[in-house]
C-alpha cells in the first residue's frame, strides 16, 4: 500500500516539520493576498483599499489556516500536546483544587490498594519453593492432619512426585545463655526440603535420609528473622549448635528474607526442625495428628489423575487395616489459597468495599471540583466554541486536565500506600504466632494503584467534561440568563446525593467498629483482670511423666504463693481469652440414671484446672465446692459447670450431685457435678456466652506442653511479674516462661476489634473528611452561585430568615435524599459484619446509624450557613453586579 505509506509519511512529516509546514502555508496565503491586492490595484483602487479588499475577499486567515492544518490529521496529536501543556498550566493556577483532588484520589486508591494487597498477602501468597504450581494440599477423610505412619506409607506408595508433611502448632524452647524462650517451630517431615525445593540463603536444607525421624535427627534450619535477631546475622552460623528443648541441634541452613512459608497467612515459623519423637511425643501413635500433607504432582500429571492414584492407595491401606483413613478427602492446588477461611475473607471483603467507598467518595469529590471549575470557566469555554472549537475539542481539553490529575493522583496514591505499609510493618501486633507481612512494593501494586487512579479519574472526569462542553454550546456568553434559574436536580445535585450516600455507608461502618472497640473494652470477660498475673509455661514434654508434671505444678503454685504480695495461686491447662484457652467440645450427653433416650446434644468450652483456680482468677463460685487436693487420680471423677451450662442443658434439675457422662478416651466417663460457677468468656471477648465444663487437673493430668500458672496479687500486678518468672524458672531451667499481667495477656483477645476499629476507623476518617470537604464545597458553591438570585429576592423585600430557610432547605433536600439512600444501603452492607461485633452490638446499632445521620445533618447545615450569611450580607445592588 504505497499510498497509505505515502500518506503516513506526509502526516509524520507534517507533525515533525510542523513549523516548516506552517511557514509554507503562511507563505502560500501571503502570495494569494498579494496577487489579489495587485488585481484590485489594477482596477484602480488605492494601495490601502486594495489590501483591505483582498483581505475581505479572502476571509478569516486564521480559520483557513486552521482548516488546512486539520487536513493534515496531525491535529489530534498536536492539540493533545497543546492541551496537556495548557491543562497543566490551568491546574497549577488553582493549586488548592489540585491538591484536594489529588489527595482524595490518592487516599482512596492508596487505601484500597493497601487493603487488597494485605489481603492477597495474607490469603493468597504462594509459598516459596520450586515450581509451586505443581504443589497440592492433601486431606484424608475430613482431617487436616494425618499420622506419621500414614504419611510414610503414602509417600512410599509413589502416587505423587514426593509427599511431605508439616506441623506448625506448639512451640519449642530455645536456650541462649541464661535465657530460654519459646519460639514457634515448623516441624517437617524429613523430605520437606527435597519435595518443596524451599530456597535457602545460607547452608542447605536437610535431606530425607539424614533427617528421618527414626534417626532422632538433631538438625535445624532457621528463618531470616531468627538469624538476624538471635544469631546476630552471623555469616558463619551454619554448623553452629543451637540448644533446642535442652539439647544441641546443628544449624544446617538459613532461610532467605521474605520467604513465604507453607501454611500461608504471612506465618513465619522461626525454626524448621525435622519431625522426631523428641519434639512431638506420641509421634508414632497411630492416631496422632502428626502432619499436614503437601504433595508434588508428577511432571505432566493432572490433579484429577494424581487424586485418583492417591485415593486408590488410601483405600487399599484401609482394606489391610480398618483403623486407617477411609479415602482421600481433598486435593487442591497450593496456589489456590488457603481453604475454609470464610470469616477472614469476608473481613477483607468488607475492607475492600470500604476502600472502594473511599475511592468512590474521592471520585465524587473530584467530579464536583472539576464541575465547579468548569462552571467558573464557562465563559472561556464559550469563547473557544465561538472561535470554532468543536464540542469534542472542548471535551478533550477538559478531559486532558483529568489526565494530569491521574498522574498526580497515582503519585499520591503510591505514597499513601507506602505509608500504610510502613505503619503496618512496624506496629508490633500482640500475636502468639510470628507473622511476617513482608509486602514488597512491586510493579503489581503500582499497576493496581495506577489502574484504580485511572478508573477513578476517568469516572470523575467524563461527566464534567461532557457537561462542560455541552454548557459551552449554549449560546455564547449568555450565562447571565441562567443565574436566576435554579434547578435542584442538576448533575451537581446528584453528585451531592451520591457522595452522601457513599459516605454514609462508610461512616456507619466506621462508627460501628469504634463502638465495638469501646464496648469490647468495657465489657467484662467475667474474671478479674486487675489483680492477676498469668505465667505461661512451655514444658519440654519428654522430661515429664503425668505424675512428675502434677508434682511440678503443685510445687510451682506453692512457691508462687510464698512470694510477698501473692494472695492466691493456681494452675490450669488453658487461659481464657488467650490462643490457648482450653478446648471446645461437643457431644451428645446423657445423665447417669436417666434413660439413654433423654440424652441431649451439647457444646461447651472445657478447661482442666487445679484447686483454687476460680478464686485466683476471680470467677465467682455459685453452688457446691471447688476442686480440692483430694480430687486425684483414682477418686471418682468430678466436674464443675458454669451457670449457662445449667440453664441450657440441666433445666429443672438440681445440678449438684448429678452424674453426667462425658466423652473420655475410648468410652464415656461418669463425672459428678460438684460445683457451679459464674459465666465468663472463653475464646473471644465478643462471643455469645458459652456453656462450660471444668475438669480436675489432678484427676486428669492434661497432655500438651503448655500449662498456665495464675496468681492473684494484692499490689501492682506488674511488680510481681519478675519474681513470679524467676521462681518458675528456678524450678525447671528448660521450661519457657512467659509472665504477663492478665490485662496484658488480653491484648490478643482485643486484637480483632482493635484491628477492625483501626483499619475501618482510619478509612472511615479519610472518607468522612473527603465527604465533608466535598459536601461543604458543593453546597457552599451552589449557594454562591445563587448570590444574584438572593440579591434579587432581598431587593424585592424577602426577609433574611426566609432566604436562609430557602437555601438551607434546598441543601437539606439533597443531603436528606442521600442520607436515606445511604442508611438503607448501609443496613445491607453491615449485615455480614455481625460476626466481628461483640455480643449485644447489633450490626444495625441504632447509635451508629443515628450518629451518622446527625453528623451529616450538622455538616450540611454548617456548609450552608456561612455562604448564605455572606450572600444576604451583601447589598442587593452589589449582589446583582456579581458575576
Amino acid at each position: 500500500m504505497p499510498r497509505t505509506l505515502d500518506r503516513l509519511w506526509h502526516r509524520l512529516r507534517a507533525l515533525l516539520l510542523r513549523r516548516r509546514a506552517d511557514t509554507s502555508l503562511a507563505a502560500e496565503i501571503a502570495l494569494h493576498l498579494e496577487e489579489a491586492e495587485r488585481e484590485h490595484r489594477a482596477r484602480g483602487l488605492g494601495p490601502a483599499e486594495a489590501r483591505l479588499a483582498a483581505r475581505r475577499d479572502f476571509g478569516g486567515v486564521a480559520l483557513i489556516e486552521e482548516q488546512c492544518r486539520d487536513t493534515r490529521r496531525v491535529a489530534l496529536a498536536q492539540s493533545l500536546i497543546q492541551d496537556l501543556r495548557y491543562g497543566l498550566r490551568a491546574l497549577l493556577a488553582q493549586p488548592l483544587v489540585v491538591l484536594a483532588a489529588t489527595a482524595s484520589i490518592g487516599a482512596g486508591a492508596g487505601a484500597t490498594a493497601f487493603v487488597v494487597n494485605l489481603a492477597s498477602e495474607l490469603l493468597l501468597a504462594k509459598p516459596s519453593g520450586r515450581d509451586v504450581d505443581a504443589l497440592v494440599n492433601i486431606r484424608l477423610d475430613g482431617n487436616s492432619h494425618v499420622s506419621y505412619a500414614d504419611w510414610r506409607a503414602l509417600d512410599d506408595a509413589g502416587a505423587l512426585d514426593g509427599l511431605a508433611g508439616y506441623h506448625v502448632e506448639g512451640s519449642v524452647n530455645i536456650r541462649q545463655g541464661d535465657r530460654t524462650d519459646a519460639v514457634v517451630p515448623m516441624l517437617v517431615t524429613a523430605n520437606f526440603f527435597d519435595v518443596l525445593g524451599v530456597p535457602l540463603a545460607l547452608g542447605r536444607g536437610f535431606t530425607a535420609v539424614e533427617a528421618a525421624a527414626e534417626r532422632n535427627p538433631r538438625l535445624v534450619v532457621v528463618s531470616d528473622g531468627f538469624w538476624r535477631a538471635r544469631l546476630g546475622a552471623d555469616p558463619g552460623a551454619v554448623g553452629r549448635a543451637l540448644i533446642v528443648n535442652g539439647e544441641p541441634y546443628t544449624i544446617l541452613g538459613v532461610l532467605p528474607k521474605g520467604l513465604k512459608s507453607m501454611p500461608g497467612f504471612g506465618l513465619a515459623p522461626e525454626v524448621y526442625l525435622p519431625l522426631s519423637g523428641a519434639l512431638l511425643p506420641g509421634l508414632y501413635h497411630p492416631h496422632a495428628a502428626a502432619a499436614q500433607l503437601v504433595g508434588r504432582l508428577k511432571p505432566g500429571a493432572g490433579i484429577a489423575q494424581a487424586a485418583a492414584a492417591l485415593d486408590t492407595v488410601v483405600r487399599r491401606r484401609r482394606v489391610e487395616d480398618p483403623d486407617r483413613p477411609r479415602h482421600l478427602g481433598a486435593m487442591t492446588p497450593v496456589t489456590s489459597g488457603v481453604p475454609g477461611l470464610g470469616s477472614i475473607w469476608s473481613f477483607f471483603a468488607v475492607l475492600v468495599v470500604v476502600g472502594g467507598l473511599v475511592l468512590g467518595i474521592a471520585c465524587a469529590n473530584v467530579a464536583g471540583l472539576l464541575l465547579a471549575r468548569n462552571t467558573v470557566r464557562q465563559k472561556e469555554l464559550a469563547l473557544r466554541v465561538a472561535l470554532g472549537a468543536s464540542r469534542a475539542r472542548v471535551a478533550q481539553q477538559l478531559f486532558v486536565e483529568s489526565i494530569w490529575l491521574a498522574v498526580l493522583g497515582t503519585i499520591s496514591g503510591v505514597l499513601v500506600m507506602v505509608l500504610a505499609m510502613a505503619v503496618v510493618g512496624n506496629v508490633p501486633l500482640p500475636l502468639p504466632l510470628p507473622l511476617e507481612l513482608g509486602v514488597p512494593l512491586d510493579w503489581r501494586l503500582f499497576a493496581l494503584t495506577l489502574s484504580m487512579v485511572v478508573i477513578a479519574t476517568v469516572a470523575s472526569g467524563v461527566l464534567p467534561a461532557l457537561s462542560g462542553s455541552r454548557d459551552a454550546l449554549s449560546p455564547a456568553l449568555k450565562q447571565t440568563e441562567r443565574a436566576y434559574v435554579h434547578r435542584r436536580w442538576t448533575l451537581r445535585g446528584l453528585l451531592v446525593i451520591g457522595q452522601v450516600t457513599l459516605s454514609v455507608g462508610l461512616v456507619v461502618t466506621a462508627l460501628l467498629f469504634v463502638r465495638n472497640l469501646s464496648l469490647a473494652r468495657t465489657s467484662s470477660p467475667g474474671f478479674d483482670t486487675a489483680q492477676t498475673v498469668v505465667a505461661q509455661l512451655g514444658l519440654v514434654e519428654s522430661r515429664y511423666t503425668p505424675e512428675t508434671r502434677v508434682a511440678f505444678l503443685q510445687q510451682a503454685v506453692e512457691r508462687v504463693e510464698a512470694l510477698p504480695g501473692v494472695e492466691r495461686a493456681a494452675f490450669a491447662f488453658g487461659m481464657p481469652l488467650s490462643i490457648r484457652h482450653g478446648r471446645t467440645s461437643g457431644a451428645r450427653l446423657t445423665i447417669a440414671g436417666e434413660p439413654a433416650t433423654s440424652g441431649f446434644p451439647a457444646s461447651w468450652a472445657e478447661n482442666i484446672v487445679g484447686p483454687g483456680y476460680f478464686d485466683t482468677i476471680g470467677i465467682a463460685r455459685r453452688q457446691g465446692r471447688d476442686f480440692t487436693a483430694a480430687d486425684t487420680v483414682g477418686t471418682p471423677p468430678v466436674a464443675i459447670v458454669n451457670e449457662t451450662f445449667v440453664r441450657r442443658y440441666l433445666s429443672g434439675r438440681t445440678p449438684i450431685g448429678l452424674h453426667v457422662m462425658l466423652p473420655g478416651p475410648g468410652h464415656d466417663i461418669d463425672h459428678e457435678i460438684v460445683g457451679v460457677v459464674a459465666d465468663s468468656r472463653h475464646r473471644s471477648i465478643g462471643e455469645s456466652q458459652m456453656a462450660a465444663i471444668y475438669l480436675a487437673y489432678l484427676q486428669r493430668p492434661a497432655d500438651g506442653r503448655v500449662v498456665h500458672v495464675l496468681a492473684r496479687v494484692s499490689g501492682d500486678p506488674a511488680a510481681s511479674l519478675r519474681p513470679v518468672a524467676s521462681v518458675l524458672a528456678e524450678l525447671d531451667r528448660s521450661a519457657a516462661v512467659d509472665v504477663q499481667t492478665v490485662s496484658q495477656s488480653l491484648a490478643f483477645a482485643f486484637l480483632p476489634s482493635r484491628v477492625g476499629a483501626a483499619l475501618l476507623g482510619g478509612l472511615g476518617a479519610i472518607g468522612l473528611t473527603l465527604a465533608m470537604a466535598g459536601l461543604f464545597a458543593m453546597v457552599s458553591y451552589s449557594v454562591t452561585r445563587r448570590t444574584k438570585e438572593i440579591g434579587v429576592r432581598m431587593a424585592l423585600g424577602a426577609p433574611a430568615g426566609a432566604v436562609v430557610r430557602l437555601v438551607v432547605a434546598d441543601a437539606a433536600v439533597l443531603v436528606a435524599t442521600g442520607l436515606v439512600i445511604g442508611l438503607v444501603l448501609a443496613a445491607l452492607v453491615t449485615q455480614p459484619l455481625a460476626m466481628f461485633l461483640v455480643d449485644g452490638l447489633s450490626p444495625h446499632d441504632p447509635l451508629a446509624f443515628a450518629g451518622t445521620a446527625l453528623l451529616f445533618a450538622a455538616v450540611s447545615v454548617a456548609a450552608t450557613i456561612p455562604p448564605v450569611r455572606r450572600a444576604i450580607g451583601v447589598g442587593p445592588l452589589v449582589a446583582l453586579r456579581t458575576e
Partner: protein
C-alpha cells in the same frame, strides 16, 4: 464555519484536479483559472480552496513543488500525480453521469 455540501465539495475537487491537469499551478492561479474559464460564473472562495488543496495533497492526488510565478515569486505549485489522474477520470465519469441524469430530469417533457 459552515461546511460546503457534498456536491459542491466534490465538484470543487473535480474543478481543481481538472485545472492542474494541464499544467502545475499555484493556489491563486488555480482560483483565477477556474474563474476565467467559467467566465466568472464560478467564484472559488479562498475559504474552501486552500483546505481542499491540502486535502487533495494529503490524499496523494496532488503533489506540491516549489516554482516561480509569472511575477518571479517563489510559490507552491500543485501538480497532478498519477493517482490524481485516475481520480480525475473517475470524477469526470461520475460528473458526466450526474449532469446527464440531472439534464434528463430537468429537461423532461421539453423535447
Amino acid at each position: 464555519m459552515g461546511k460546503p455540501s457534498d456536491l459542491i465539495q466534490g465538484t470543487l475537487d473535480l474543478l481543481i484536479l481538472k485545472t492542474v491537469s494541464l499544467e502545475p499551478k499555484h493556489g491563486w492561479a488555480i482560483a483565477k483559472r477556474i474563474q476565467q474559464v467559467s467566465q466568472d460564473a464560478l467564484q472559488v472562495t479562498q475559504g474552501s480552496l486552500y483546505p481542499a488543496l491540502h486535502r487533495l495533497e494529503q490524499q496523494g492526488w496532488l503533489r506540491a513543488k516549489t516554482g516561480q510565478t509569472d511575477t518571479g515569486r517563489e510559490a507552491k505549485f500543485y501538480a497532478l500525480t498519477p493517482a490524481g489522474r485516475k481520480q480525475l477520470a473517475r470524477e469526470l465519469e461520475s460528473w458526466d453521469r450526474l449532469s446527464g441524469a440531472i439534464g434528463l430530469v430537468v429537461r423532461d417533457g421539453e423535447a
